[in-house]
């Protein structure tokens, strides 16, 4: 088989698109720069907020503080700042809603009396549940008050000659086994998604141009009269789109690696495994996908009647392969043999493993690479068949 035509088309497409601002922006700027900056920005925001919160003392405004001096002393001793306020119930609601006070504790009138009688003594805690970042403070105050209650109960049992241990039949010990790297996956999960999307975007305009663009420009017919088999024309175009996807992929991963090294992830107790070694593994995981992606996009744009229509189609279909990723995120899917046969999903799971700094199963890599390449070659042949159709001319 004479492959000279494929090479000629590849070189021309590569060079032509190098001069096209639109292609360059989407391949070299949008994906590789915006994605990493977005994720790094979010992480940075999370870090600075977490730092702020841990430095900050928990401040609780207390209504009728004189009714429970011991409880308040207990809280103060454990690092809670108490401010006394004079508010009624609706005033308290308003103050929390407007964030004048984040947490308000109301001590009812009969608090002391009920406590003395050995009856449940209620306190009221006001907070705004829609302010996610402040929930920690409320949780801490609630836990301290419960702890105070348990200590009173234990004293009561002791006074009645009962061993307080016997009324605590279960004690929960919490052990958080998430390692710094595995925790970072939560933060960086978005990254695998953006890497794959950015890779696809790199070849988007070449894929559109391969059929819809040539047709709209009126150059398709003449191209088809050259003595090169039609499928070789589309193969050359697919390879050029794949080359741009490869460039986009490499840039995106390198940019992520750089961006994350600037963000102080360690302060969150997270280390992202994104050094040069991990970055090259990420690229190697995704590289088999580029043939699949380029063929897939070329096929879809082949069905479009115009450039504009192709853009609309591709804007939609480009998100389809990444759907399993969202699914995986929601279901918390782990790398499994069967999932290695699913393109995009297998790459996502392998990338996650790399970022977690967990050992990679060589058979998983082998299955992912081989199956994805096979799908890619099949799609490429399908694109070749479609390029032979007369309907291509529109």
């Amino acid at each position: 088989m004479n492959l000279r035509g494929i090479w000629a088309v590849f070189r021309k497409e590569f060079r032509e698109n190098l001069r096209d601002r639109r292609t360059l922006l989407s391949a070299l700027v949008f994906g590789p720069v915006l994605g990493p900056v977005l994720v790094a920005g979010l992480v940075q925001f999370g870090i600075s907020h977490a730092e702020e919160q841990s430095d900050e003392d928990i401040v609780v405004a207390v209504m009728h503080a004189e009714r429970a001096p011991n409880l308040l002393a207990y809280l103060t001793a454990r690092g809670v700042d108490i401010t006394k306020v004079a508010l009624d119930e609706s005033g308290a609601r308003h103050a929390v809603a407007t964030q004048t006070h984040k947490i308000i504790l109301d001590i009812p009138e009969d608090f002391g009396a009920r406590l003395q009688e050995g009856q449940p003594a209620p306190v009221v805690l006001y907070s705004d549940g829609s302010r996610g970042f402040d929930r920690r403070g409320v949780g801490r105050v609630r836990a301290l008050i419960s702890q105070y209650g348990i200590e009173i109960a234990q004293l009561r049992f002791l006074a009645r000659g009962i061993d307080p241990i016997s009324v605590l039949p279960i004690s929960v010990q919490e052990i958080d086994v998430s390692t710094p790297s595995s925790r970072s996956v939560l933060v960086l999960n978005m990254m695998t998604y953006l890497v794959l999307l950015s890779m696809l975007f790199g070849g988007l305009y070449l894929a559109i141009d391969a059929t819809a663009g040539e047709r709209e420009r009126g150059s398709l017919e003449v191209l088809l009269t050259s003595p090169v088999p039609r499928e070789h024309l589309i193969y050359g175009k697919i390879f050029a789109a794949a080359a741009y996807m490869m460039i986009s992929l490499c840039l995106t991963v390198v940019m992520f690696s750089l961006a994350m090294s600037f963000v102080g992830l360690e302060q969150l107790g997270i280390t992202a495994n994104l050094g040069p070694g991990a970055a090259s593994k990420l690229i190697a995981c995704c590289a088999p996908l580029i043939l699949f992606g380029a063929s897939y996009l070329s096929i879809v744009s082949g069905f479009a009647k115009s450039y504009r229509e192709a853009q609309t189609y591709l804007g939609l279909v480009i998100t389809i392969p990444t759907m399993p990723l969202m699914f995986a995120g929601m279901m918390g899917l782990q790398a499994k043999m069967a999932l290695m046969f699913v393109p995009f999903l297998s790459q996502h799971l392998l990338m996650t493993t790399v970022v977690r700094a967990e050992p990679i199963e060589p058979t998983f890599v082998a299955i992912s690479v081989t199956s994805t390449l096979i799908y890619g070659v099949l799609l490429m042949f399908l694109a070749g068949r479609l390029y032979r159709r007369e309907a291509l001319l529109g």
């Binding site: 420009r217 150059s219 003595p227």
Partner: protein
Amino acid sequence: MLEARGLCKSFGKIVAVRGVSFSARDGQITGLLGPNGAGKSTTLRMLYTVLKPDQGDALIDGRSVTEDPLAARRAIGVLSHGAGVYNHLTARENIVYFGELHGMSRADREARAAELIELLEMQEFADRLAKGFSQGQKLKTALARSLVHRPKNVLLDEPTNGLDVMAVRGLRKLLVQLREAGHCVLFSSHVMQEVEQLCDEVVVIANGQVVAAGTLADIRAHGGDRLEDAFVALMAGNGADGEAKK
């Protein structure tokens, strides 16, 4: 030498071409004349191998377009309708690219591009990106591109559409040059004047069929002194408004 033999082509239920046969000889300019929608473009597209005939065949210097389209393509140069060029390549790169697709060596295709640029007087814009080209500049680029591999046969689909007077004159001059050099030139048109000025032979198509073929004198014999009168007479006689659909 081009020979159409009983070409037929339908698109769904619409029959575009129903049994077109004619031949176009070397060293002659042959015009494919007919009203809009008569099947001129479809016939040409079958000749230049972009469409496959439902029935019939065409021979390019004896090579069948259905059996050996690649060989047929090597022997033809095509100026398709619209004549689109690649905007992000220069005129010269557009020409050289097609030389490469035709399998010419680097030195050969570059020399040939330079030759065509001179022949078509394109020096002024040859190394500019095609993005801002005028219709005339685009046409010259497309023409040079179709001639880069020195094809014996040249097919042009409505080449003068949208061109100004100067560009049309330039094109005419070139077609005559090609004839002198012994090429077989076939072009489609619905402009009588153009056909009258250039063509040695005319094939008149209506409703997907050949209704008359021969020299200008032969065609004129169908009525009137002028080609236009003869054409109108032929259209009336052949039911250009649908009688032939029977």
